[in-house]
Amino acid sequence: MNVIGLGNEWRSDDGAGLEVARRVGGRQLDGEPVALVEALAAGSDVTIVDAVSSGAPPGTVHEFEAGAEPLPVQLFGASSTHALGLAEALELARSLGRLPARVRVLGIEGRRFDYGRGLSPEVEEAVERCTRSI
């Protein structure tokens, strides 16, 4: 199975997805849309882990299956640092016929996204839960 972690390790909890990918030997991407579309084409069964900010308690893990239907844009739409968010990149891949049949998406709710390194304790726990489930 292919695991792709997304985020920016220099923006605190935004690095949660990268940390999961690091622990399971997956790919670490910063969300650049073309690299993501390319990485998706590589497998038939992909798990993507990203940090989200929805207002849920920090450390909450939101789980979606994007192979069949679009991700909720409120959670995975373009943020301030990406021209295209994860949701848009997946839809672009779908339009191009490059989306794997199964795309499991884990969204880890972050507490803080300011400059700096290191994860909040709740997010660290969620990273551990996601790693085990993968």
Binding site: W10, D30, G31, E32, P33, V34, A35, V37, E38, A78, S80, T81, H82, A83, L84, E88, E91, L92, S95, L96, G97, Y115
Partner: protein
Amino acid sequence: MAKTRTLRTDYLARVEGEGAMLVKIRDGKPVDVKLRIYEPPRFFEAFLRGRRFTEAPDITARICGICPVAYQVSSVNAMEDACGVEVGPQIRALRRLLYCGEWIESHALHVFMLHAPDFLGYASAIELAKDDRALVERALHMKKTGNEIMRAIGGREVHPINVRVGGFYRAPTGHELAALVDDLERAREFALETVRFAAGLDYPQLEQDYELVALSEPDAYAVEDGRLVSNRGLDIPVSEYEQHFVEEHVEWSNALHSRLIERGNYLVGPLARWALSGDRMTPLAREAARDAGLGRDERNPFRSILVRSVELVFAADEALRLIAAYEPPEPSFVEVVPRAGVGYGCSEAPRGLCWHRYELDENGLILDAKIVPPTSQNQKTIESDLHGVVERYADLPDDELSLRCEQAIRNYDPCISCATHFLKLEVDRR
């Protein structure tokens, strides 16, 4: 009875970063146009104080995920200037090649994913991809090729880690660069198709009287260095920038507004580069421009997508030329010994001038830093374009006028993350 309309877009899509636009129209005339950038100010300049001069390229690259090379090259230019060091032609050529990679990936993203949907009546590149898969596949190939150049020279595609003051940590082998040639040749073909595609678009009418500012070099299309020139007689070394340009805070935006002290707003980016040194592009790029009917005095900001397409041809062509002529610099960097002083550096980010100044102490610690990104320089001009668009298209219904205004903002490929060291749209019509 006076009629007022307000157009408001609270979150502008397809621009890099967070921003909003407010347009107030009274009796069919624009009375107030504001581009608001409210991503919080990014305290990079303060963050740099007390850091070593060698850290600037890696720290400033973090300002932007789309144009990190611009920040790296401008910062190394400035540090080398401060320390009185000149790098040789091979290191300069390798920087130029790295920069071509950034232009290709950034322009391919903007032309197809962010700007073309406006011209073709699609809400996004995703809908466009459903109807014209081949077009979007070509864009993805170009973007990927740009990324590959950045990976081959920079170590990775997004925030390159191989650039250092004085040169590169490691120079790629000729073999590593030769591996890029097949993809680059296809990218150059796709870029030529992109020019033909852009030439066939339906352009809104708007002619603006701009002061155009860009870097200029005697024998080359200026990218990684040069003198600052304009179509109104400015011709200065980058070290004199602050004697001619100021940055001002405006209450409606977190990004500073730049202006020429004597003449006000100005434009940086593709239109300016093309007007001021288009004759120094490669023959293939000039021929593509001519076939597309692109005049040298292009003043319609909507035609910037066409200039960007020509620059895609140029960047792919130039990259191939540089690879063919490549000699690995030996050693891969010049030793730079710090000294107390001030250094200035500038380069042409895909969106326009990226200007840096650093003051160092005798140990090479940064005492002060100033970074002027392209989007803050273009902000006033974007607002003046919006005035022009609203005046000309005031009869359009609010939703169409809003779209036209957004399209006008995207002419500048604004990079709002960069500018706040940052769109929503609001139209108020009564």
